[in-house]
């Protein structure tokens, strides 16, 4: 299976070492964005290169890898990334969340609870949670350093004033370890509570923006909110149209040409 013409996990060892150093720093300062010398990977920026570089620098021959996108093991890009690692490392792959040692994900946290020793690698498009409010990195860096997060709270408050509720539904900002505000990547806010005190190590890789950050096991991750408007997750009126689940993130499936639809529990749950 492994292509022996390509170095194990594609990256050269010096690059892997540089990335591991960034990861260690990230773990030491939960939620802080560590700049790293992101490389051009054979897959495009924006398509998971940050997650791929993190996975490539931590994967070993005895790892068992799972790759999901939108909570599914068989969306095209997940298949492609899994093929990339099969080709460059020859490691075993799995769709079983409980069995996997490394899970690379885009836009979901598996619904099966993770355990100690597992590593969840997130693909991150925009690591800076305040980028849409302040595009200058020079400025946002200062705001983080001073823990000056008024901008963020005002933004959420403006949502309340305009719409009566916070209008952010995914990539919902969190406060990590009581210190740094962090972008959880575009997971639905439904998944946010899973990050809190998770026994697994959570690593975040942003290839295009060249940042790595982390949430170590058993770290507090608090979704932002207000005392009178606490953070809340999505709820559905109907259960899953296929398995009847009421505790799952539901995907809608269009079933006919008139836009008829049914809800189904996300694959993140059903494959375990």
């Amino acid at each position: 299976m492994r292509d022996l013409h390509i170095h194990f996990a594609y990256l050269d060892e010096r690059t892997k070492r540089m990335i591991r150093r960034a990861i260690l720093k990230a773990v030491a300062i939960p939620g802080y964005q560590v700049p790293f010398g992101s490389r051009e990977m054979p897959l495009p920026y924006g398509w998971g290169t940050g997650g791929i570089q993190v996975t490539a620098s931590i994967i070993g021959t005895d790892d068992l890898l799972k790759v999901i996108d939108q909570g599914s093991d068989d969306t095209v890009n997940a298949v492609n990334i899994r093929r990339f690692f099969q080709r460059t490392t020859g490691v075993e792959v799995t769709t079983d969340t409980t069995a996997a040692s490394i899970i690379q994900t885009r836009h979901r946290i598996p619904e099966t609870p993770l355990r100690e020793g597992q590593i969840l690698v997130y693909q991150v498009p925009v690591p800076e949670p305040m980028q849409h409010l302040e595009p200058l990195e020079v400025e946002t860096r200062k705001l983080h350093a001073l823990q000056e997060y008024g901008l963020m709270h005002v933004n959420l408050y403006e949502d309340l004033a305009h719409f009566g509720q916070i209008a952010t539904t995914y990539d919902y900002p969190v406060l990590v370890n009581g210190r740094y505000i962090m972008a959880p990547s575009p997971i639905p806010k439904f998944d946010n509570p899973k990050m809190h005190m998770n026994p697994a190590l959570q690593l975040f890789g942003a290839g295009r923006e060249k940042r790595i950050y982390a949430v170590p096991p058993y770290t507090s991750v608090e979704s932002l909110g207000f005392e009178d408007h606490p953070f809340s997750i999505q709820r559905w009126e109907q259960p899953c149209g296929i398995c009847g689940a009421r505790d799952s993130f539901l995907d809608e499936v269009i079933t006919d040409d008139q836009g008829g639809r049914r809800s189904s529990a996300d694959i993140a749950r059903s494959v375990t």
Binding site: L11, E40, W47, V79, H107, R108, P186, R211, Q234, F249
Partner: protein
Amino acid sequence: MYVAVKGGETAILNSYRLLAEQRRGDLAIAELSVEQISQQLRLAVDRVMTEGSVYDPELAALAIKQSAGDLVEAIFLLRAYRATLPRLAYTETIDTGRMVLSRRVSATFKDLPGGQLLGPTYDYTQRLLDFSLLATGVHPGPDTLCAASASASAPLEAAPRVIDLLNHEGLVEEQAVPEGDPEPFDLTRQPLRFPADRSARLQNLARADEGFLLAMAYSTQRGYAESHPFVGEIRFGTVELCLVPEELGFEISLGDIAVTECQMVNQFKGSHTEPPQFTRGYGLAFGHSERKAMAMSLVDRALRAQELGEEVTAPAQMPEFVMSHSDSLESSGFVQHLKLPHYVDFQSELELVRKMRKAMAQQDKGAQPKEEEGPHA
């Protein structure tokens, strides 16, 4: 049961096959060789080498062939290839003053030492389709009988750079080597951070997408920045590349590379500490890439606004704006990632929009104004 669109491995393999077929085209037509591309699509090869940051005409031509002529894709291929190559050594600084010139023009002086040398250029062609090129395989090639060609092919003496001539009078700012001649920032190994120094800026611009850079440069000419540029000089030719290996301690020649250099001079009114003089913008690209080198030199100068105490009002003067959006791999990748599934994010938005519409409808129904409901109700 309806199955949501999922791409299995078979679908991906089929897509590879279709792509290969489409790239090759009609099998009755002879296949294009990499040599043909590097010889006859020279300017495409030069652009791919420049933005791909690899001086290798053969690999650039291969990338162009593999990408079916999509140059941004070819640049991506070359960059991905170079990303994990070991960094063995740094060459000595090239001396463009000793360039073996193929072309050299200055817009600031009619006559100057070394003269104006038109060389190969589309500048003075009349852009009429040359239908004689339609006749493949029988075209005789350049008219070798033309009397001028004999003298034009003779190598020319190196000529001093125009900027150095002006320098003697102190009319142009000096760009001295920084103290201690520190190793330049290496954009391919270190993440770009702001404020970025000159070496990071020039590397970023050299690798920047030509179209983006051209538009940025153009904007400075249309009022979106203070700009009064003159082409001090454009030169295209070959320069020798040298290396001093640590274990040898003396210079050895690696060979020649072709480069295009543009020195733009800009009026500067002076400040409290500096007398009025001309400032410089610098552009350098592999091969023959004048549009790129000129655009680069304009943007380089515009990005120095803050350094020179000018008011920063336009995008082309903002380093974070320009340098964070100039790379075609980054922009092309992120724009096109929107093709990837976003079912989950979209689902979250759907749920929110439905909830807000419902709340609005209810409000409209019972909308006899008893007491206005505040946001916190």
